[in-house]
C-alpha cells in the first residue's frame, strides 16, 4: 500500500489529499502540520478581524475532512526528508516513511533587518491565524497602526482592522499600492477608496529605523504608532526541499506535473515555482486557486494518475470596502491597451498578438472570468471578436458554434 506524506496543512495540502483520494482510496496519507489548527483559509484572516467570518466558518474544509479522507494529521515541524530511506523526519517526534511526498510548506513573511525593530513591542506579521489572533488581542479603538507594505497582505490587514482602530498608516517603498498587480492609475483608484475609508498612505517611502513607538522614514518623516504590522513581503519556504536535493530558485522548482527535481518528491502551492503560461516561464504564483490546483495535480500524479497544469496564470480578485478589483495575465506595454473609465471604475485590457494577454478591472468585475478564460486559453481573436471583448465580457465573444457547445452541452 502506498504511503503518502504531505508536509504542510494548507490549501495545497487539501488539494493534494483530494487529488490522491480521487485515484487511491486506500493509501495511507500523513499530513505534517506546522500549525496546530484544522485546515483554515489563510486569506480569510483579515475577514476574521473584520467580523465577516469566524473560526468555525473559516475552516477551509469541514470538520470531518481528515477523518473522511482517512488522513493522519501530525502536528509538528518537519525537519528534513531522508531521500535514501524515503522518510520524512520530524523535529523530535519521529519519522514517516513515504512512497511519495509532497512539500506544501507555503511561504513565510520576509522581515528586512530594520534597525531598532527589537524595541517595538507590539509588532506583528499578518500571515497566519495565530498572527491575526495575536494582533486582534492588542487592537483598541484608539490604536495607531502602522503597516509596512501596501501589497495584498498589508491592505487586507488595513481593511480588516479599519473599524476597530484609531488610525492606520500604510507605507511602502513602491510608489503605489498593490504594485505587484496594478499599474499606477488603477492603483491610484484603489488607493483613493482606501483613503476614503480612513487609511493614510506614505508611498515611495518606508521605515528605515524604529524606536519603541516611532518609525523613522526614509524621507525623514517620523510616524508614531502603537501597533506595527510588517507586511513587506513573503518568501517561499524552500529549506526542507533544498536539503532534500530539490532544485530551488525563488521557490521549489517543479515541472507541469508538480514533480521536483528529486525523485518521488512533489511540491505545490506558495512554496513552489511552477510554470506560468502568461510569461512562458517558471514563477512563484502565490495565489490560493493555484495552490489548490497544484496540490490536486500533485496528488493525482502521486497516486499514479495523470495530471498536468500548463495553463496557470497570475490572477487576483481583491476588494476593499466593497470596491472590487480583478486582474489576470500579463500586461505587455508593446501591445494594444484598451481603456475605459467611468465614474464607477476602470477597465484596462492588454492585447498582444491577437490575444487578450491580461486585464485589470476595477469596480465592475461582472463576468471577469470570461476574460480570464481568454487569457488562460490564449484564445486568438479576430477584429470583430476583439471589439466584442472590449465592449464587455460575454459569451458573445465566442463563435456561435462554440457558444452553443458551452451552453448546450455538459462541460
Amino acid at each position: 500500500m502506498a504511503e503518502y506524506v504531505i508536509i504542510g496543512n494548507g490549501t495545497a495540502a487539501v488539494g493534494c489529499i483530494e487529488g490522491i483520494r480521487s485515484i487511491d482510496s486506500d493509501g495511507a496519507i500523513t499530513v505534517i502540520s506546522g500549525e496546530e489548527h484544522h485546515v483554515y483559509s489563510r486569506p480569510l484572516i483579515s475577514y476574521l478581524l473584520e467580523g465577516k467570518t469566524d473560526l468555525e466558518r473559516m475552516k477551509y474544509r469541514p470538520a470531518d475532512f481528515y477523518e473522511k479522507n482517512k488522513v493522519n494529521v501530525v502536528y509538528g515541524k518537519a525537519a528534513k526528508i531522508d531521500t535514501k530511506k524515503q522518510e520524512a523526519i520530524l523535529e523530535g517526534k519521529g519519522k514517516f516513511g513515504y512512497t511519495k511526498i509532497c512539500i506544501c510548506t507555503g511561504s513565510s513573511p520576509f522581515v528586512p533587518p530594520f534597525e531598532g525593530l527589537d524595541k517595538v513591542k507590539k509588532k506583528f506579521s499578518f500571515m497566519t491565524l495565530d498572527d491575526a489572533l495575536a494582533l486582534e488581542k492588542v487592537l483598541t479603538d484608539k490604536s495607531r497602526v502602522l503597516i509596512v507594505g501596501a501589497g495584498l497582505i498589508g491592505l487586507k490587514c488595513a481593511e480588516g482592522i479599519a473599524e476597530r482602530v484609531g488610525s492606520i498608516t500604510v507605507c511602502d517603498l513602491a510608489d503605489r499600492v498593490l504594485s505587484s498587480i496594478l499599474d499606477a492609475e488603477c492603483a491610484a483608484y484603489m488607493q483613493k477608496e482606501l483613503e476614503d475609508h480612513g487609511v493614510s498612505f506614505m508611498l515611495g517611502d518606508t521605515a528605515v529605523k524604529f524606536d519603541k513607538n516611532k518609525a523613522y522614514m526614509k524621507s525623514g518623516a517620523e510616524v508614531e504608532f502603537d501597533i506595527l504590522v510588517l507586511a513587506v513581503g513573503v518568501r517561499a519556504e524552500t529549506e526542507i526541499a533544498k536539503q532534500a536535493g530539490c532544485d530551488t530558485n525563488r521557490g521549489i522548482i517543479i515541472n507541469t506535473k508538480m514533480e521536483t527535481t528529486a525523485a518521488n518528491i512533489y511540491a505545490a502551492g506558495d512554496c513552489s515555482e511552477g510554470y506560468d503560461s502568461s510569461i512562458s516561464a517558471n514563477r512563484v504564483l502565490a495565489i490560493l486557486p493555484n495552490a489548490y490546483m497544484q496540490g490536486r495535480c500533485a496528488g493525482i500524479n502521486m497516486a499514479g494518475g495523470s495530471s498536468e497544469i500548463t495553463d496557470a496564470i497570475p490572477m487576483n480578485s481583491i476588494g476593499f470596502f466593497g470596491l472590487h478589483c480583478a486582474t489576470a495575465g500579463a500586461y505587455p506595454e508593446d501591445g494594444e491597451i484598451y481603456e475605459e473609465r467611468t465614474d464607477k471604475g476602470i477597465k484596462r485590457l492588454y492585447f498582444k498578438d491577437s490575444k487578450l494577454a491580461g486585464y485589470m478591472l476595477i469596480g465592475d468585475v461582472n463576468r471577469a472570468g470570461i476574460y480570464t478564460s481568454l487569457v488562460r486559453e490564449k484564445t486568438v481573436l479576430d477584429n470583430e471578436e476583439t471589439e466584442k471583448v472590449k465592449k464587455m465580457p460575454s459569451l458573445a465573444i465566442f463563435s456561435d458554434e462554440k457558444r452553443r457547445t458551452k451552453l448546450g452541452g455538459v462541460v
Partner: protein
C-alpha cells in the same frame, strides 16, 4: 444529472427568466412584494449579440474552477450540483474571476451567488425553465 440548457434559437431575450429567478430565490410568496422597486440579483442573465439572445447560468461543470478557486472553501459539489455556502463566503469574488461562463456574481449582500437549480428554494426545480415562454431554457439530462 439534469442541468439547465438554453437553446439560442428559441430564446427571445424577454428577460423573464431573470425575474422568475430573482423571485424564486427571494423566499417570498408574492412576486410583486419580492421584486417591486428593488434591484434584482438574478442567477441567470440574458446576453445579446447581433440579434441573438441567450440565457446564461451556472453550467454545473464536472470539474469546476470556482470550487477549486474559492478561497473560503465555500463552494462545493453536492450530487453534481455546485453550491455556494453563503455563510462561509466572504465576497472576495475569486469565483467571478475564474468562472469562464460569467455565471457567478455578487448578490445583494456582497456574497457570491449563482444558479443552484432551485433545488433548495420553494420552487423545487429551476424557475427560469418553468417560466420560459418559449421553452428556450430546458432542464434535462444531456
Amino acid at each position: 444529472m439534469k442541468r439547465v440548457f438554453v437553446n439560442e434559437d428559441w430564446c427571445l431575450g424577454c428577460h423573464l427568466c431573470e425575474y422568475n429567478c430573482a423571485y424564486a430565490n427571494s423566499g417570498l410568496s408574492d412576486m410583486v412584494k419580492a421584486l417591486k422597486g428593488k434591484d434584482i440579483f438574478p442567477r441567470i442573465h440574458i446576453e445579446e449579440t447581433d440579434g441573438i439572445t441567450y440565457a446564461v447560468s451556472c453550467r454545473h461543470c464536472k470539474d469546476p474552477l470556482c470550487v477549486k478557486s474559492c478561497i473560503a472553501g465555500a463552494i462545493s459539489i453536492e450530487d453534481g450540483t455546485v453550491k455556494i455556502d453563503k455563510t462561509k463566503c466572504v465576497g472576495c469574488l475569486t469565483c467571478v474571476l475564474v468562472c469562464p461562463y460569467g455565471a457567478v456574481a455578487a448578490g445583494p449582500e456582497g456574497a457570491a451567488q449563482k444558479c443552484e437549480l432551485c433545488l433548495a428554494n420553494s420552487c423545487g426545480s429551476p424557475a427560469c425553465v418553468k417560466g420560459c415562454p418559449n421553452n428556450a431554457i430546458v432542464y434535462e439530462e444531456r
